[in-house]
Amino acid sequence: MKRKRKKRLSRSRNLLTVLVICIVGLVHWGASSARAEPYLAIQEGYKCSKCHVNMTGGGKRTDFGNIYVQTRLAHKFVNWRRVLPKPKEDVDEENPLKTDSRSSFFSGRLNDYIAIGADFRWLSNKVETPNNPTEEEFNQRKQNVYLEANLIPDRTTFYLTLSDGGDAREIFGLLKRELKGKPFYLKFGEFFLPYGLRLQDDTAFTRAVTGFTYGVADVGLEFGFEPGPWAVHIAVTNGTGSSLETNRSKRLTTSVAFVHKTFRVGGSYSSNKNAADVETEIYGVYGGAQFGRVGILAEADFIDDDTVEQRVSILETNILLSRGHNLKFSYEYHDPDDSISENARERFSLVYEPFVNQFTQFRTGIRDNKGIPQNDASNANEYFLELHLFF
């Protein structure tokens, strides 16, 4: 009995070693970004922390997030154990241990303490720019592997994103507690800053122009308080996100949201001083509402860096065609200098996003850019197909 147990333990250790080697290998091969999907949060009336370990969204999914994907989000749950033909001798209706005894459910949780996750995005992109040759490229910059260690379950978590390419890594500790039944947390380490709607698309104007993308993480401290329908996040960081670190001042980023089952409204603010003592203030409002299968989300931001004032906004509509199939229309606006008229640019997008099974999502769409005629790049048309593998 003891020998068997030893053998089993050694087998588990070997398995764990292989797994760790696989993870490290994957990371060396190249890894980066998991993306949040705020439209799903609006559809379900969830806060970001419901489905993501990082309480402000993005990155590894929680156990509930994985359950949600596998049981409700994906068009189909592929139960590979049922797909494979059963050996005749295994079919025994009377003995449940012999027949149908295993499930294909996999949430990335290895045991009570350790859970892993991953995101891999492969992109095929075609860009047609006026007066320029058409560009086509394959791209796989978006690759991430996550490690979540619940040292004290639901209380103390260590979180690590191993990433490569253009995306920043996140590595932080998370201490969760409750104050009279109201949850709060303290996050310390390197993380994405809590600002606005954390859209999946980093090229969206509201993300790219404000600088709150998955390519920018900052080192510091974040406090979050989520009583009832409220979600309050305040981060104090070095400010390396958009300026050189001087240690003379810190960056303050905050976001407050009221989350209801069918709608949400929120506001964000960020202030940062760079090495030349130029202060950039970014502030905005965001929200969303769900009407049956139709969800709308919007965000408007103002960027003031003492010299230029910019305005940027997005309006997005998502239609849940059927389980696992989403159709997205979005309109974006960016005025790069409020003092100059008729220099704004716009972007229209039409995207179809099927979650074909519990681990696979496709995204395909067109983006039509409109800008001043002198700037060819701001009038380009983009066509893309993306394959997203995740767990």
Partner: protein, 304 residues
């Protein structure tokens, strides 16, 4: 672990076979007292195998529960898992041993097949997903057994449903829905005071709707019967079952004093309230319902 348990079971099985063989070989010559003693041994062996099987099943149930159920229902089964906050309705607290969806009389504990059915089909319109696509039938049964361990009532023989507490839900309806049965159902809907909670048009806006609380004084909303989802399933038989069994822990009573025919008439009326059309589909249908479609084929109580 699984392989070892399997081996232990196989060992138990062979012990049983061996004991059976001994019984067969000794039967012609053995005296009455010897036979009885062998029978006792066989019985003891059988009990041992049963206990081992249950142990294996509970262990499997615990593993699956911790992965798939504890994020909402909590590792202690108290409905306070890390994801439970903000859910409306909140996840079930298994420690209370009170279950809405059963085939037993009002106030009684559910049967195993009732628990398995809820796990298998989920609860439409809530966060409870349909697990039959994801978990194997074996795992569903194991989780149901494990969930029972949270409440002491399932261990108490006096609390278990008696044979007369188990209700027979008819496999098929005795008559087809008609305008007459819908009209009769409407009269019953008013006479039985359903309107007080569910409202004149079944939209869950009756005069008492705002005052309703469950058995733990938590406010509870009556169902909006015009929506397409019914938590206990939307087949005629599912709705009939609710009228017959009541929903334990909620103000919804059993209408078992009504005749079977009257309960089917009520079913027809409830079904007639359902909103239809593209406008409903696009702008009013709950995304949760889109993701939790009705079973394509009618499944029987055992889930076969």
């Amino acid at each position: 672990m699984k392989r070892m348990d399997k081996k232990a079971l196989t060992l138990g099985y062979w012990r049983l076979v061996l004991a059976g063989l001994i019984v067969v070989l000794l039967m012609p010559t053995a005296g009455r007292s010897q036979g009885e003693s062998i029978a006792e041994t066989v019985e003891a062996l059988q009990a041992k195998v049963d206990s081992l099987t249950r142990k294996v099943q509970l262990e499997r149930g615990r593993t699956v529960y911790s992965r798939a159920c504890s994020p909402c229902h909590g590792i202690r089964g108290d409905g306070e898992g890390p994801a439970a906050k903000g859910f409306d309705p909140p996840p079930r607290n298994f420690r209370r041993g009170v279950y809405k969806f059963r085939t037993t009389v009002s106030g009684a504990l559910p049967l195993d097949k009732d628990l398995e059915r809820t796990i298998r089909e989920g609860v439409p319109g809530t966060e409870m997903p349909r697990w039959k696509d994801v978990l194997s039938e074996h795992d569903i049964k194991a989780v149901a057994q494990y969930v029972k361990t949270f409440s002491p009532f399932f261990e108490d023989p006096d609390s278990l449903p008696l044979p007369e507490d188990i209700l027979e839900i008819p496999e098929s309806r005795p008559f087809e829905p008609s305008s007459a049965s819908i009209a009769a159902g409407r009269r019953l809907f008013i006479d039985q005071d359903c309107v007080k909670c569910h409202g004149e048009n079944g939209e869950g806006d009756g005069v008492e709707a705002d005052e309703l609380v469950d058995d733990w004084d938590v406010p509870i909303r009556p169902a909006n019967l015009t929506l397409r989802h019914f938590k206990n399933g939307k087949q005629d038989r599912d709705i009939f079952r609710v009228f017959t069994t009541a929903l334990n822990g909620t103000p919804m009573p059993a209408f078992d004093e009504l005749t079977e025919e009257q309960r089917w008439q009520l079913v027809d009326y409830i079904k007639s309230l359902e909103q239809k059309g593209w406008f409903y589909s696009l702008f009013k249908e709950n995304p949760n319902q889109v993701r939790h479609p009705d079973p394509e084929e009618k499944t029987d109580e055992s889930g076969a």
